[in-house]
């Protein structure tokens, strides 16, 4: 539980957070001082997980230009099916491992202004490129050479952001900063109960999508 939430929590929220599974949201969102993510073993694991991830993205069709632009045209729902299935399984699985004390969580901070403005900007770029950072790598792997221009753009845009990071960190990224806020805290129920209801809801959405769309 991070400091920010402790300071701003109302007595009711504190009560809600003391359910059987108080969430430890992990450390700050930056490189750990020891740099354990670049040991040889972790680099090898990263490559192995990457191979699996790219393999799955390609088999799921989400390295294909028309499948990705198809979801943005609201005509091909493959992307939604992949994402929601991954979220349902991952949500139950990761929180399950967390409840057993086997993993730490890495919850991303909620900063409303930056989430919304950055998200909209991302969306415009998503349609123009039609590959996202993960599926772009997969698109290149399957032979879509136009992804190369996208990768150069991703690098250029990242550097441009780094140039602006000091300013943005002092302004936009402070607006509506709620720290590592989670949905169960927002609606004040225990994580376990929330996951049960939410996973069922997402499955119901998938059933509706499957029944009402062509693909």
């Amino acid at each position: 539980m991070n400091m920010k939430n402790d300071v701003t929590a109302t007595p009711m929220q504190v009560g809600a957070q003391q359910h059987e599974l108080p969430i430890d949201k992990g450390g700050p969102d930056k490189d750990p001082p020891t740099g354990q993510s670049s040991t040889g073993k972790q680099l090898a694991l990263g490559l192995l997980f990457g191979l699996t991830f790219g393999f799955l993205l390609q088999k799921g069709g989400v390295a294909k230009y028309h499948v990705l632009i198809g979801v943005l045209l609201l005509e091909d729902f493959t992307v939604i099916k992949v994402m929601l299935s991954a979220i349902v399984v991952g949500m139950i699985g990761v929180f399950g491992l967390y409840a057993l004390g086997l993993v730490k969580l890495h919850i991303k901070p909620t900063r409303y202004a930056a989430n919304i403005l950055g998200g909209l900007m991302f969306g415009v770029g998503f349609a123009l490129l039609s590959y996202c950072p993960g599926t772009g790598a997969a698109a290149l792997g399957q032979g879509n050479l136009d992804a190369l221009a996208g990768i150069l753009g991703l690098m250029a845009g990242s550097y441009f952001y780094a140039e602006a990071s000091g300013f943005l960190g002092r302004t936009v990224e402070k607006w509506g900063d709620r720290g590592k806020l989670t949905l169960p805290e927002l609606v004040r129920v225990s994580p376990a109960a929330f996951i049960l209801v939410f996973a069922s809801l997402l499955v119901a959405v998938l059933v509706v999508v499957e029944r009402t769309t062509v693909r």
């Binding site: 670049s38 990457g50 991303k108 770029g125 550097y159 780094a162």
Partner: protein
């Protein structure tokens, strides 16, 4: 004579239209779908997420890798300046787990496409060509570069991309991730409809 010329002009005007009509055009469903069930693939990505949390203490994510690579290139040209930037003080420009993940993803997708007979080796996606013409390579590369740039800036500001927010953040029930993903789709749908349906 005049009639022949007119017929020729008419044919020249009609032919591109016919060519588009004969190709699958701008209907995404007329092109091949996924090789495997998207539900199976999604579920396996969910399991993969559990594995990355357990074995690497990391959520799946892709966009930070491009930022680190860009920082490495930046260091070649302007070492001090690059290292002075706030972002690169928090996220060092180096090859880390996530950079390897993205490199691996290129290889994994190659393997999947090769085994499945789906290697493309093309500069222009067929659906793009159907909309913007076969001679639109410069436009495609320009749009892809600009799109990549906007995406990277947007994902750094929002705090993640379709992997980091869209899969890993949402499954951990982060409010910011759900807000960001909705905005990804709002911005994307509006832009895609302008590109293909106006």
């Amino acid at each position: 004579m005049t009639r022949t010329v007119l017929a020729g002009v008419a044919l020249a005007l009609i032919t591109p239209g016919l060519a588009v009509a004969a190709s699958p055009g701008t209907d995404p469903l007329a092109y091949p779908g996924p090789a495997w069930s998207p539900y199976l693939v999604g579920a396996l990505i969910g399991l993969l997420s559990m594995a990355t949390f357990y074995f690497s203490d990391k959520p799946l994510g892709a966009s930070t890798a491009y930022a680190r690579l860009a920082g490495m290139v930046g260091k070649l040209f302007a070492r001090r300046h690059t290292e002075s930037l706030k972002y690169y003080q928090d996220f060092k420009p180096k090859v880390d787990w996530e950079v390897m993940l993205v490199v691996g993803a290129v290889g994994g997708a190659f393997l999947a496409a090769w085994l499945g007979g789906e290697l493309t080796g093309e500069w222009l996606p067929a659906m793009w060509t159907a909309r913007f013409g076969a001679d639109s390579l410069a436009l495609r590369l320009g749009a892809a570069f600009l799109g990549g740039g906007l995406m990277a800036f947007g994902s750094r500001m929002a705090g993640g991309c379709t992997s980091g927010h869209g899969i890993s953040g949402t499954m951990q029930l982060s409010v910011g991730s759900w807000v960001a993903v909705v905005c990804f789709f709002v911005g994307g749908i509006a832009t895609a409809l302008l590109m293909f349906r106006v």
